[in-house]
């Protein structure tokens, strides 16, 4: 480490006097390069042969534009430039390698890519040799005036639209192999690998990371956050609209809607788990079991031909009952065990999750009573039909746009996520929510101020279970099957990862975490066998770079960045038997 640091200081001292000129030259050259051809053959995604930048070149171009900071000294510029230039360099380098790989050799890399990589390197060295920032970026607000509220509302809408656009673009980049019949061949013999397409997703992801980091270091994200907080209703309405409109952007493609609906299932469960873990600070490692209780109940009473019970209850009743039953399980498990502390509770919930999975696996008529069909699960759950005769299994035409049937289930998921989010936000700001946070921070102190900690912890546990049950019953109808494979410990762990990755105790965090964790393995398919390996490494890296999560709650962020940290119940577990004896 010290060698690297020494080399950096020495190199820095050498370059420092010219850092601005060097970086500026690099960024200008990089902008120019983005209009030069990056490949000598056509067909690489993003039209690398043309002179109009597309795909990865567009991302590099946008990141290169941050070079204006070399001229204008804004607060936080070194860190902002550092992120923008580093990510620009990585994207340029990766793209060049991908082009060379797909074209079978560096010969087929265009001049723009070569010069671009060098320019990006200069840009990065220049940015990193700048003097340290002496000011951190302030949270800015718009000047007071008649139009302020209107402009701020428009900004909120734009933020929602940008989020939707990022999602649509990310999802829209194909993750399957290149379609047959298109001329992706070079010289007739050499064919492109799937990798070329996937490189697009990778560079898009890197671009998003670089852009967000650079903007947040310039204080743009914090300022926008302050604005959206003042106009949260506008933001919520705009976000909901964006989510509702999404199927219309997909041109009748059912696949992406199915993925979006699956993300919805995952996100709803993650938000529910966030109540238990993020607000009340109870580590639940078997949350998926409550979800499973709801899913199995819904599967069994919804008229599936594989169900052993021949009843078909109306959908609304099914959701209610699933939620109630899951909540009941929550109380049954929680009542005797919630006085356990920290990790003892975690292992009890883990045990409950395993017991649930083993039980549904065994209730197949041979190892136990026949109820769940064992490993096969309850499948062929019929499509939902609303009382008016509206069937979820049929394609519909709305406003002249043909919508695949998946859109119906997608909208159902949007409603579910909206309900769960509302429940979370209302709870978090209520007296109960504040009591949960107090318990999370310091249970003894909370009890001393007159909070009935046992009852409130049980409430958190039961509410989390209830929401999971409701989410499970909806998801059973979306995926049309309830099978033990979906309720393993790994699923619980991934849900927890979504909550922690996104940032505990915030609803945006859980949504973002769920989206990232669902999309990442889906989009990493090009790595084939290495997919899970990369996924594991990415988990480690994200936690190392941002241990407080992507969107931490304000309180947690303060705790984490203050020296010594706060007395957080999750940071320093109370009452462990602290003696190796």
């Amino acid at each position: 480490m010290s060698v690297v640091a020494a080399a950096r200081t020495r190199g820095g001292a050498l370059v420092a006097p010219f850092a601005r000129q060097l970086g500026l030259a690099g960024s200008v050259l990089l902008v120019i390069c983005c209009f030069l051809p990056w490949s000598t053959y056509s067909g690489f995604p993003g039209k690398m042969l043309n002179s109009t930048p597309g795909g990865a070149r567009l991302y590099v171009l946008l990141l290169a534009l941050f070079g204006f900071l070399f001229v204008k000294d804004l607060p936080g510029r070194r860190r902002a430039l550092g992120s923008a230039s580093t990510f620009a360099f990585v994207i340029a380098l990766l793209t060049m390698l991908f082009i060379a790989y797909a074209g079978r050799g560096l010969v087929n890399v265009g001049s723009g890519a070569f010069v671009g990589v060098v320019a990006a390197l200069l840009y990065m060295v220049g940015a990193r040799s700048l003097p340290e920032d002496d000011r951190t970026a302030p949270v800015r607000s718009l000047p007071d005036g008649r139009w302020r509220a209107a402009v701020e509302s428009v900004l909120c809408v734009l933020a929602a639209v940008a989020a939707l656009a990022a999602f649509v673009i990310g999802l829209g980049i194909p993750s399957t192999s290149i379609a047959d019949g298109e001329d992706y061949r070079l010289g007739g013999a050499i064919s492109l690998n799937d990798l070329t397409n996937e490189s697009q997703f990778l560079s898009f992801l890197l671009f998003l990371c670089g852009l967000m980091l650079a903007l947040s270091r310039m204080g743009v994200i914090a300022s926008l956050g302050a604005i959206t907080k003042r106009h949260s209703k506008v933001l919520v309405a705009a976000g909901l609209m964006a989510a509702v409109v999404f199927p219309f952007t997909q041109g009748g493609d059912g696949y992406s809607l199915r993925i979006a609906a699956s993300i919805g299932v995952f996100a709803a469960a993650a938000v529910g788990l966030n109540i238990v873990v993020g607000l009340a600070g109870l580590l639940d490692l078997g949350y998926i079991a409550f979800f499973g209780v709801g899913a199995y109940f819904a599967a069994i009473v919804s008229g599936s031909i594989t169900s052993v019970i021949d009843v078909h209850l109306p959908f609304g009743l099914v959701i209610l009952l699933s939620a109630l039953i899951a909540g009941l399980f929550g109380v049954l498990l929680g009542a005797p065990t919630l006085r356990l502390r920290g990790d003892y509770l975690a292992i009890v919930t883990l045990g409950f999750g395993e017991i649930f999975r083993i039980t549904v696996n065994n209730l197949d008529g041979s190892a136990g009573p026949k109820l769940t069909n064992g490993p096969n699960g309850v499948s062929n759950i019929p499509d939902l039909v609303l009382p008016g005769g509206f069937s979820f299994g049929e394609n519909h035409n709305l406003f002249g746009v043909d919508l695949p049937f998946q859109a119906n289930y997608y909208w159902l998921e949007v409603i579910l996520v909206a309900v769960v989010m509302t429940a979370f936000l209302r709870l978090a700001e209520s007296r109960i929510g504040r009591a949960w946070v107090a318990i999370r921070e310091d249970e003894l102190a909370a009890a001393a101020t007159g909070i009935n900690t046992t009852r409130l912890k049980l409430l958190a546990f039961a509410l989390g279970a209830t929401l999971a049950g409701a989410a499970g019953s909806v998801s059973a109808h979306v995926v049309k099957v309830a099978a033990p494979d979906s309720f393993t410990f790994l699923e619980s762990a991934l849900l927890l990862a979504a909550v922690i990755l996104g940032g505990m105790g915030t609803v945006q965090g859980a949504l973002l975490g769920a989206t990232v964790l669902y999309l990442l393995p889906e989009k990493l398919r090009f790595l084939q066998d290495l997919r899970l390996l990369v996924f594991g490494i990415v988990l480690v890296l994200i936690m190392r770079l941002r241990p407080e999560g992507l969107v931490p709650s304000k309180r947690r962020q303060r705790e984490f960045h203050e020296a010594g940290g706060g007395a957080d119940a999750l940071a320093a577990p109370p009452g462990h038997a602290g003696a190796l004896g």
Partner: protein, 307 residues
């Protein structure tokens, strides 16, 4: 009666494996309060390390020479990976919110499994492990009760490992430093203890014992599998909690208890909940029941909450 005694023996053998792995969980937890979910993978790597050592030996090496070398090889792999893991995945997160290292552990666990699956030759499914200790050779323990040679070896090695660790922690200077760090890391540092080194020591000792369990597992079942660490790891963690996490004797007791419960439940649980399909469920039921009545595990002490 013979059947009961036979199952008792089987349960003790199973429990010895759990106990060996549980020691690693409990030591690391006792010192840094980290649930190291990747510890199960360290156990799995121990098995693969032993296998690799065997494959590198000239054919015809007598078992008496091969086994100790395999043990050393397995330990070398486990310990190396554990040290790297501590240094690059966990140490940077010290002082971070406690759940962050948990996700890191999960990531490490997934990555290690996939590393073996993808890069160890022919490890996509279970790989055969040399049957150096003949499993058909059985020693009679009176009546119809007997124990097979690999099982006997497992239990002997496990007990030696447990006693050695316990003596080390109680008697040696480093061991006492470990206890001090577990009780109060800040004061321990004031007393001149290099706590970073102590934490690494805990990882190293845990990994070495897990490698013993990995070798034993290979010898008993005649195969090693990249998936074998995950479930066994969760069970061993359960054993550590059952005994009272952070407590070394507790981990051993918890391991044996869990092993016995599993074996006995398979045999004696009321129909239709008997049989192998339900054994894990019984293990967790017993865990929950024990924790309801003894909230800090079998040997865990009731400690006042830290402010």
């Amino acid at each position: 009666m013979d059947l009961f005694l036979q199952q008792l023996v089987n349960g003790l053998v199973l429990g010895a494996t759990y106990g060996l792995i549980a020691l690693g969980y409990t030591m690391v937890y006792g010192i840094v309060q980290l649930i190291n979910f990747a510890h199960g993978e360290i156990f799995m790597l121990g098995g693969f390390g032993a296998l690799t050592t065997y494959l590198a030996l000239p054919s015809g090496t007598p078992a008496g020479v091969a086994l100790p070398l395999m043990l050393l090889g397995g330990m070398a792999v486990s310990v190396t990976v554990a040290v790297i893991m501590e240094r690059f995945a966990y140490r940077p997160l010290r002082g971070a919110p406690r759940l962050a290292p948990l996700i890191t552990a999960l990531g490490v666990s997934i990555a290690l499994q996939e590393l073996i699956r993808n890069f160890y030759p022919r490890a996509k499914s279970a790989r055969n492990f040399p049957q150096l200790v003949n499993p058909d050779r059985r020693f009679s323990l009176g009546g119809d009760v007997s124990i097979s040679a690999p099982n006997l070896l497992t239990i002997v090695v496990a007990v030696i490992g447990m006693v050695a660790l316990s003596t080390f922690v109680r008697r040696s200077r480093t061991g006492r430093a470990m206890q001090a760090t577990a009780q109060d890391p800040d004061t321990a540092r004031l007393m001149g203890i290099d706590t970073d080194r102590i934490i690494v020591t805990a990882f190293v000792l845990g990994a070495a014992l897990a490698a013993v369990a990995g070798l034993a597992q290979g010898l008993r079942f005649g195969q090693v599998d990249f998936r074998m660490g995950f479930i066994t790891g969760i069970k061993a963690f359960t054993a550590a909690v059952l005994g009272g996490i952070g407590n070394i004797s507790g981990a051993v007791l918890g391991g044996f208890t869990l092993g016995l419960v599993e074996v006995m439940a398979t045999q004696y649980a009321p129909e239709p909940f008997a049989g192998g399909a339900w054994k894990d469920a019984w293990a967790f039921v017993v865990l929950i029941v024990v924790l309801v009545f003894r909230p800090t595990g079998l040997l865990g002490e009731r400690v006042a909450a830290r402010a």
